[in-house]
Amino acid sequence: MNTIILVAVLTMAGLGTFFALILAFFSKKFAVQDDPRVEEILAILPGVNCGACGVASCHLFAESLLANKVPINGCIPGGAEVAEKLSALLGVESEMPEKKVAVVHCGADANVRKLRARYQGVETCSAANMIAGGELACIYGCLGYGDCFDVCPFDAIRMIDGLPRIDLIKCTGCGKCVIACPRDIISLEPWDGSHPLVTVACNSLDKGKDVRKICPVGCIACKICEKLSPELFKVENNLARFNTPNLKEYDNWEKPLEKCPTNCIVKLSDKVPSLSK
């Protein structure tokens, strides 16, 4: 009995070694010379496989870059820093990509939200939104289940009082949260830290009267901001919007912020000079 076990073990060991040797021999013989630059590019890339560049993974991006299929500044999370390093490595001139950050257009946290129903389903925004448009009285507002928080590859989103707060330093503008949000509350805004970041934290297209009924911090389209600073604010479809292309004329923003009756114009960040080199 013992000999059979011994023989069996020896047989398996022998066969295993035999095939291992064959494989070792052929792996030498069929060794593939990968372009060494792929590894170097990979070391520069953030390596989060977010897909913001348009190809599936960072590895694929590196290969496509060598094949000239993607622009050298195509890595959105990497931003200017990565583009600079890549152009140094490959000797190609690069235009610096504009730094963008995600901005949440809703200011109603869990303390002020009004509900019109009770929802007891799967705890994701997309599921809640599918059931008759969610339990919130406001059909435009943040549902607060944190789909954006779940997809953020850079740990830049925190859910505080049921509202996503974006760490503007960590945010790379990859846009994953923009896609994840079923209510399109998050948008990407150009911001390089050279000025404070101001936004209208509301996404409601309802009339002012209707907004007042359900939300204390919603935009009621009173147009005060537009009157005070017409180049920066514009009210359309019952909603004020911060006019990002006019960032250069960025002086007259403090007054509308003070005067907004519902305080839905908010300053998300002061100047961050270290970001804008």
């Binding site: 059979i4 023989v7 069996a8 047989t11 398996m12 066969l15 295993g16 095939f19 064959i22 494989l23 052929f26 792996s27 069929f30 060794a31 593939v32």
Partner: protein, 193 residues
């Protein structure tokens, strides 16, 4: 000679692995949406099957039978198959990067393709000799290739067909597979090995 031919034809048509024994369905469904890719998949499987057969035969006859270790058959078969698949993978990666990317996960999955293990077990069960084993392995591989390429051809045409919504995708593919199996039943009357 006619005996070899009989084994060969029987493995391809009469006892087609996919359509008679329903083996290797995973790649049969998974890689059959494009004729070229499925042809390459078929060739990879044929290569592994053809090479597996002599190795398995040698190991069975000269090691397992001699030392009275028939219970090791499955394990040794798997070792042989896994090694050969590794070999094919290296080979394809070296000589055809595009094919390597097309086959993707299905390439290493040839290891777990039950059709290959079945062919290895079958040739022992039927007491084939060395030459017969190789011919059987090769024939089985060709049979698999035939089935998967026909399937891919039909599916390419299906892209343009007005398939009712509930049958779209996997459902119509399985229906087509069933109809193909029925058609291959027509060979059942032929003499087989």
């Amino acid at each position: 000679m006619s005996e070899f031919l009989l084994i060969f034809i029987s493995a391809i048509l009469v006892n087609n692995f996919v359509l008679k024994y329903f083996l290797g369905i995973c790649p049969f469904i998974g890689v059959s949406d494009e004729v070229t890719a499925s042809l390459n998949m078929g060739m990879a499987v044929t290569f592994v099957m053809t090479l597996t057969a002599p190795f398995v035969w040698l190991i069975n006859t000269y090691i397992l039978a001699r030392f009275n270790l028939p219970f090791l058959e499955y394990v040794t078969d798997i070792i042989v198959i896994a090694s050969l698949v590794q070999l094919v993978e290296m080979f394809i990666k070296k000589y055809s990067r595009g094919l390597y990317n097309t086959l993707g996960i299905y390439l290493p999955l040839i290891t777990t393709n039950c059709a290959i293990l079945f062919s290895a077990l079958f040739l022992v069960l039927r007491n084939y000799n060395f030459i017969q084993s190789i011919i059987f392995g090769f024939g089985s591989g060709i049979g698999f290739t035939l089935a998967i390429v026909i399937m891919a051809g039909i599916r390419e045409e299906l892209e343009y067909a007005d398939v009712p919504k509930p049958f779209k995708g996997a459902a119509i593919t399985l229906l087509v597979a069933g109809l193909m199996a029925l058609a291959f039943m027509g060979f059942a009357g032929m003499p087989s090995a």
